[in-house]
């Protein structure tokens, strides 16, 4: 940590202290972590469903829960980074579908190896992210408005292009094309660990969490993200490349959308053009439950993963517990409020002890 950039609301390793005080300071560092509140929440939710749903603790059930969490978590990581940078992305949900559609249609229409579609889809998806970031930095409009526009345009383009090119509302199956088995292995395979199927998306998810944590906590770019989200003008004044950072964050979300989109395509061979709407809010919820502040400058990648895990446990736990699914959204909303209140409370306590 020898940069000349401002240090923003992040726990600093304390100078070596006497052993008696070392324990107290470690505890304080732990209390100041953004994801602490969500960890408490996750343990509570897990214990709750373990007690109320008898099939919840089976290995196969936990694997299903983890898979559900990973499909949200892969997107929640870059969305959390974006929120730490102080911005929103409402187009993230449909961008996943767009990415899968591009990949599928390029491969099918060109009768090319599926890897061609995958390769074309990446720059196209990243371009949408760059477009969001570019508009944001050039127009000074709030990201809420800009990405809302992108969201609507993408929703229309998903359907319009799919019908224009394929004459139906979903893509044609590419399961019999060259390269499909290998691509499926990368994006949508199931590994058997001790007799239980573990979906490869879980590995992608953990990999992304590790990468994002490293970027946030160990690199200059991480500092820039915190600085931009904390106070943009101050960051600019001390020489943080604000524009580049914000565009980069949107491209990060696009990268996540590309991974999720390829998973959708290779898990199911076919993509429905109308899907993905509404998921952007779920990614934001996962990030917020995990301790990200809506106002930016605070949060963590690990927190977003725990938020996604809470979401996955709840959405599937309600099924395992055989509850009436009509109430699902109610529980989700209540949980979001509770988790955020808990976060705020824990953070206040942590700041008081500093």
């Amino acid at each position: 940590m020898s940069e000349t950039f401002p240090q923003v609301s992040r726990p600093q390793p304390e100078p070596p202290a006497a052993p008696a005080r070392a324990y107290a300071s470690r505890l304080r560092t732990l209390l100041a972590r953004p994801e602490l509140g969500s960890v408490v929440g996750a343990v509570a939710v897990f214990a709750f469903f373990a007690l109320t749903a008898d099939s919840f603790l089976r290995a196969a059930s936990l694997s299903t829960v983890l898979y559900a969490s990973s499909t949200i978590g892969i997107m929640a990581v870059p969305v959390a980074l974006l929120m730490i940078g102080g911005e929103f992305d409402l187009s993230a949900g449909v961008l996943v579908t767009s990415s899968a559609l591009v990949s599928s249609m390029v491969s099918y229409q060109a009768t090319a190896n599926v890897w061609v579609g995958i390769a074309v889809s990446l720059p196209v998806t990243l371009a949408v992210g760059a477009f969001n970031g570019f508009l944001l930095t050039r127009t000074k409009l709030p990201s809420f408005i800009i990405t809302l526009g992108t969201f609507l345009m993408l929703t229309g383009m998903n359907l319009g292009f799919t019908k224009l090119i394929g004459a139906t509302v979903s893509t044609k199956s590419i399961a019999d094309m060259d390269g499909f088995p290998a691509a499926r292995a990368v994006f949508a395979s199931t590994l058997t660990v001790g007799g239980v199927g573990v979906k490869v998306t879980i590995l992608w998810w953990l990999g992304l969490v590790a990468l994002a944590s490293w970027v946030l906590l160990r690199t200059r770019a991480g500092n820039w993200i915190f600085a931009v989200g904390g106070n943009r003008e101050a960051a600019r004044a001390v020489g943080v490349p604000v524009t580049r950072t914000r565009i980069g964050l949107y491209m990060g979300v696009a990268l996540g959308a590309w991974i999720s989109g390829q998973h959708l395509l290779f898990a199911y061979d076919v993509v429905q053009s109308g899907e993905g709407v509404g998921n952007e809010l779920i990614y934001i919820i996962a990030a917020v439950i995990g301790g990200c502040l809506i106002t930016g400058g605070y949060g963590s990648a690990v927190g977003s993963a725990i938020g996604a895990l809470i979401f996955g446990m709840t959405s599937k736990g309600i099924v395992f517990a055989e509850w009436n699914p009509d109430w699902f959204k109610f529980f989700l909303g209540a949980m979001l409020l509770l988790a955020t209140l808990l976060n705020a409370w824990v953070r206040k306590r942590a700041e008081a002890t500093r």
Binding site: S55, A60, T64, S170, Y268, V270, Q272, S273, P325, K329
Partner: protein
Amino acid sequence: MARFRTWVGIALAGALTLSLVGCSSAGGKRAEDARKAAAAGGRAAVDTPRWTFAMITHSGDGDTFWDIVQSGAEQAALKDNVNFLYSHDDEAQQQAQLVDAAVDKKVDGIIVTLAKPDALKAAVARAGKAGIPVITVNSGSGESARFGALTHVGQDETVAGEAVGEELNRRGRERALCVLHEQGNVGHEQRCDGVEKTFDGTLQRLYVNGTSMPDVQSALEAKLQTDRLVDAVVTLGAPYADTAVKARQGAGSDAEIDTFDLNAKVAAGLEDGSLGFAVDQQPYLQGYEAVDLLWLYKYNADVLGGGRPVLTGPQILTKDDAAALAAYTKRGTR
């Protein structure tokens, strides 16, 4: 705070007074309860073990059609001494995960809709591997047998569309409008394709935003105002038929409104002549038969349909059927 409490007290007292004096002599909850009591009762009619069947559909939240499917399934579950679980999600990926969850629970039978067949292929195969019998309902007649399901119970959308086209010919219509309220729904496209196939006149498609009724009405009104020659409007869902009637009034058009599916309003519309005909796929039957066929398979290894779909429609309903239907639609079983 004290003032707040006073207000709450006043509000509660008011509500109580209103509920005492403001009784309605017709309709309402009391009439519904009376109808329910008159409907089929609820006690198991068999002494087979209490099996658990899970039903997973692609319905969104709060869909009237699926309420009827569910009530049919619940009625059969009651009779067959079955513990019936229902869950749904309109996102293919989420629906597949729900099927996975049912397999994890080791249920005794699974009922699933294949609106997005490719997305559910793996989950259905997993159920088969776990030795859980699967029956598909409503959508996926083409894939059902290939995925290893016992039977498919439902309506072939193209066949239903063809029936509508023929009925329009019989009524001497020449310029029809197919109103699609869900962009991206393959079944809806198939319905309009079917109409197109058999209808001798011209058929236009109009896409509307089904999640917003005012939107649907204004779009239809605009269309009927600009194209004065339209003499038949076909809506693809019962709730939209009533909206189409309103749009017809607004546009001053005299087109006949016909619809897929049925609800209480459609039954009333058939009776008073504001609607031409409805084509029904009997959702109650889909839910009821699915549970009952699973029960028969578990109890007696019976399979219905001989490898072909068991069709619950299309059934063309007109003014002649309306009187009988009214009571059943109010009860929530048609």
